[in-house]
Subunit: 153 residues, 2 copies
Amino acid sequence: MTSELPDMNLKAVGIVRNKVKQAPVPGYNWWGIVSEIVVESSLTEALDNLEEFSHITVLYWMHQVSATSELPLKVHPRGKQELPLVGRFATRSPNRPNPIGKATVRLLERQGNILRVEGLDAIDGTPVIDIKPYIPGYDSVTDAKVPPWVTNQ
Amino acid sequence: MTSELPDMNLKAVGIVRNKVKQAPVPGYNWWGIVSEIVVESSLTEALDNLEEFSHITVLYWMHQVSATSELPLKVHPRGKQELPLVGRFATRSPNRPNPIGKATVRLLERQGNILRVEGLDAIDGTPVIDIKPYIPGYDSVTDAKVPPWVTNQ
């Protein structure tokens, strides 16, 4: 499969700054955490009008997750042994073939090249690789179904 | 900023197969398009239980978008000259510093290493870099606001 594929190298467009300096325990409550996304200053103008959206989607590189191709393919959701062993792609485990996180967060404020957001589940120093506006209808689903082990504590 | 950052190289975990062989015009209606995501066979087991979700989020590499750091920072949404010039990060333009697309799609069926999905806005041959379950509440927002130029035709 790889023979026909391009090189795919990412560049950071910004970096996360917040008070969470180390990876917290699974299940950590990120909802009240305010972060700053400090965007590469040469890209400041590309942020114009983003403040007209209430929410944005942030893609980031989970740099503290060790990159390995030897990940077990099955995992207990949120590390809970009492939950069934499921496929890694059926979870939001940070340990995945490409350690990319995706978060939908409230945009509190933009000042120049700095975005202040609430609920971003990324630790201090995390490289940001893309920022997209959140568009209801395109990004949201009204009738989505999930299995019971997603919501079980 | 780059001095403290890790190398960020992606590997394809799968590839998109559908009838759309070339980049269509902006505004193309992808909603009825059925695609197959053919996942790297060594990762088949990591897809287990994904079929318990009605929707998934697919991250993909827009390989036909020319990678350049010389992108204009402002752009007319959807190429429409009559819409205001806005920051590139405030749009879903495929031309962005990292050409990563994000789509939330209905999962119609999983058979082994093949996912059949509806509405994936990626052309045939697109490398897939991550597959995540769509989880309402975490991935969705009920009170999101967007500016008028998003919905204006």
